[in-house]
Amino acid sequence: MPESTMNTVAAQATMPVTPAAPLGDGLSPRLRRLEAEAIFIMREAVSEFRNPVMLYSIGKDSSAMLHVALKAFYPSKLPFPVLHVDTTWKFREMIAFRDETAARLGLELIVHTNQEGVARGISPIASGSSLHTQVMKTEALRQALDKYKFDAAFGGARRDEEKSRAKERIFSHRSAAHAWDPRNQRPELWNIFNTRIKPGESMRVFPLSNWTELDVWEYVRAERIPVVPLYFAKERPVVERDGLLIMRDDDRLPLLPGEKPRMERVRFRTLGCYPLTGAIRSNADTLDAIIDEMRTSASSERQGRAIDHDDSGSMEKKKREGYF
């Protein structure tokens, strides 16, 4: 049976500490427009769905999305819970950051793990990246959405991330089996969103659709949003495999014969399951340095993800099956 824990902390709305400046004064008109658009999308979803949830993956996009949500509904507290699908292979620093964030902001945090998958011994190491992702992420997410009967789920995906996302709607319909049908999407005209669904169906809602990776970082900087320290360069124990720099976050990662973790100054552009997430060599240890590095970067952010490498249509396949 799937099992979840619910952790509800104080009911007071708390904002991250920001300087007492008028709204958006620190934001460029460009970011301010993106923020306003995301707020509009979130308010629309909260008004029209019975039981929304925010998918919280602990990464920078989730942090930005969460921050926007707190502003959208202020002074009310978040009118929905936050769901983390825990594959049990996330970096330890991510989990610590998640719990600290939930406590600091008074979030209603739901953590869900596919216990069947755990019982079957599914892991990125024993099962390979694609089975692990299928069982511990895709299926786990479906379990959680079904269990709590969520009819709308916010996700922090951006259209600039990956080809198949470029065509996905902001309100993206999912069948009762959680499948996405890229051939049969509803047209989205103006900013009028068709939120109608039948019983059992659901909607994925992407408030950051029109943001780019750089927008997210600039927003994080302007709004002083805390992010997981793994984004900043530091000496970390890594091994190099198939061209990816993998950080050995705990001793569940077996070393190959003759392999020895080296300390290298690295950081992460995206965060996921540690055995599947490649680090980059970097000296960027501040937001300014990360943003500078990005401007001159010659590769895309998903390059560090093992699951996208199979072939370039693979993300679309995963999504049709219900990957977020």
Binding site: P22, A72, D160, E161, K163, P187, N191
Partner: protein, 633 residues
């Protein structure tokens, strides 16, 4: 390509000077005119393609490309697997890129004829259109069509990109000829600025840099123009409008109204009116997580509190008191039809406008617009990709501005109530005053008074089901039973009505809708007279049954589903109709070549395959008694 995040330009971070909101633009034009190549080229020249994407592109160019060994920039833009395999772009895809001067969101829409709907979707969110023309071919019907749709959707700035100029030897006269023809054609459209640029997407002439091969062209390169154009004059100066999206009530002391300002600006103390109620008050505070704000302006997402405790709900519009939006329940609008199920005038759809959702019916289709010529065509319906001008009636008052004055408060979508499909995008032209002129006759003897004479309540018993299901047989028995109890009834039967009132109607989907609409109106008049009206009609479409239901007060419409399996109806075939339909002699026959949409929650479902008609009729009468419509004996 995917992630075209930022230029790895040589400039230091601080040199990214432009902080304007991203320019939202649309690329359109006939298939193969070079849209994808143009955008791909632009990104390449701006150094916006990541090394890993470039490597993938080189790989893909070998596999799918149309240019032999050369890089095919078009492959950067084609997204979904299947369409990549077929070599066509079929949907709207969004692309993001920034140069040192500006950031851009590009809606990439396909050039195929059948995809007008995607182009309209892309245009609805764009401020500028780049319209491509192949220099060898000149203006095509598609070029005109795309210009017309862009204009219809309110785009005011157009770049006419005359592409493949390399293939006509950079010939000025070719370019001038095309530009002149376009400006002649565009005179009838609503563009404020049209800029023509000769270019070669494939070789990069006039894409980001002005080309030495066309010294005769004095104007800017495409990128120079896009980086400098100002498309947003005026929204701040327009009258204040804010549709209320969400009422923010953290506790009983705080009541905020959350929404996005679509035009104008607001300050605490400003007088505002809430529509449609028309109550006026003042803005007390503009609340934000960073403290109260001194002002809010167009495009800001804000939370307002008001000086007076007045009733405000999602769907209302808060506006300045000077220039107010209108409220009406009948208006003229343009529709772009987006569904493969054609428009049915008379059928009810959901209409979403701003944060308001209501029921709407197209009462009259005035004409279809020929999107190649802007000509008016007579039409009874609108099919996928067709554009029309129609009158619409809504169940509730709708607050709006004409689309030409305000894109945000003048646009709406129509949604099919059963499939939930978005079937149309609409733009309001003006309110129709008819609704207020035709005052309903105020009658002194009312429905209740008439009904009271009869000692039973009025109702419509709507028997629906396949031909041969037993609707009329059961309805006749019910009527006899009611009559014996002293209940005043009337029977409306399909065949009889079609011989009289509806003898001008056939069996197409459109005529079937009209058939049911008239019957619904007649049934309603009869309930006004206090009668129990028995209707037996196949009425295969849910939407029409729903339409009749909505004509009547809650509880007066009873949908009775006479549920006999199709094979049993075919076996009975009392009028020999199935035999003829199956032989292809009758078209549009329900159950054979037209669907019967099963009722989802009828008031009563009669399992007519399993029981005798008498027993079924008694079930109906028992149900009327249970509902206090008539008494037992």
């Amino acid at each position: 390509m995917d992630s075209l995040v930022q230029s790895r330009s040589l400039a230091p971070a601080s040199a990214v000077a432009d902080t304007r909101p991203a320019l939202r633009l649309l690329t359109c034009g006939s298939v193969d005119d070079g849209k994808s190549t143009l955008i791909g080229r632009l990104l390449y020249e701006q150094n916006l393609i990541y090394d890993d994407h470039l490597a993938a592109l080189e790989r893909d160019s070998k596999k799918h490309g149309t240019n032999g060994a050369e890089i095919d920039f078009a492959l950067l833009l084609d997204g979904l697997e299947a369409e990549r395999e077929q070599g066509i772009t079929i949907d709207v895809a969004y692309r993001y890129f920034s140069t040192r001067k500006r950031s851009f969101i590009v809606a990439d829409t396909p050039g195929h004829e059948q995809y007008t709907r995607n182009m309209a979707t892309g245009a609805s969110n764009s401020e500028l259109a780049v319209l491509l023309v192949d220099a060898r071919k000149g203006l095509l019907p598609q070029t005109r069509r795309h210009a017309i749709i862009a204009s219809l959707l309110g785009i005011r700035h157009v770049v006419l990109a005359v592409n493949k100029i390399d293939l006509v030897d950079f010939d000025r006269t070719v370019f001038d000829g095309i530009a002149a023809k376009f400006s002649e054609f565009a005179a009838q459209l609503n563009f404020t600025q049209v800029v023509a640029i000769p270019l070669s997407a494939r070789y990069g002439d006039n894409v980001s840099l002005r080309s030495a091969r066309m010294p005769w062209h004095a104007g800017p390169s495409l990128l120079d123009y896009l980086e400098s154009v100002d498309v947003e004059p005026g929204v701040q100066g327009k009258p204040f409008r804010m549709p209320v999206q969400w009422v923010n009530r953290p506790n009983s002391d705080f009541r905020g109204f959350a929404g996005t300002i679509v035009s104008g600006s607001i300050r605490p103390g400003d007088e505002v009116v809430v529509l449609p109620s028309g109550r006026t008050t003042r803005v007390a505070r503009i609340v934000s997580a960073d403290g109260d704000l001194a002002a809010g302006q167009a495009k800001d997402a804000v939370t307002l509190t008001l000086a007076d405790e007045i009733d405000v709900a999602r769907g209302d519009v808060i506006a300045g008191t000077g220039n107010r939006p209108q409220a009406a329940d009948q208006f003229a609008a343009q529709l772009v039809w987006m569904s493969s199920h054609a428009l049915q005038p008379g059928r009810s759809y959901l209409m979403k406008i701003g944060s308001q959702t209501t029921i709407a019916t197209v009462t009259e289709l005035r004409h279809r617009v020929d999107v190649d010529t802007l000509g008016k065509l007579a039409a009874k319906t609108l099919a996928l990709n067709e554009v029309g001008v129609c009158n619409i009636a809504t169940a509730a008052q709708v607050v709006f501005d004409p689309y030409a004055e305000n894109r945000d408060t003048g646009s709406f979508i129509l949604i099919d109530r059963y499939s939930n499909e978005t079937v149309a995008g609409g733009m309001i032209s003006f309110a129709l005053r008819r609704a207020t002129n035709v005052h309903l006759q105020n009658l002194t003897v009312g429905k209740q008074a008439r009904s009271a004479l009869k000692h039973h309540r009025p109702a419509v018993l709507w028997f629906t089901g396949l031909s041969g299901a037993g609707k009329s047989t059961i309805a006749n028995l019910v009527e006899a039973g009611l009559h014996a109890r002293g209940v005043h009834t009337i029977m409306l039967d399909g065949d009889n009505i079609r011989h009289g009132l509806n003898k001008d109607l056939g069996f197409t989907e459109t005529d079937r809708v009209e058939n049911i609409r008239r019957i619904g109106e007649v049934a309603k008049l009869m309930t006004d007279a206090g009668l129990i009206v028995l209707c037996s009609f196949i009425s295969p479409f849910r939407a029409e049954r729903q339409m009749v239901r909505e004509l009547l007060p809650e509880g007066e419409f009873l949908e009775i589903f006479v549920d006999t399996p199709l094979d049993q109806c075919i076996a009975r075939d009392p009028k020999g109709l199935y035999r003829r339909a199956l032989a292809g002699e009758i078209k549009n026959f329900t159950g054979v070549d037209q669907v019967y949409e099963t009722p989802e929650s009828p008031e009563l479902r009669l399992m007519a395959g399993q029981q005798e008609a008498d027993a079924l009729a008694n079930q109906v009468i028992d149900e009327l008694v249970r509902r206090d419509i008539c008494v037992k004996h």
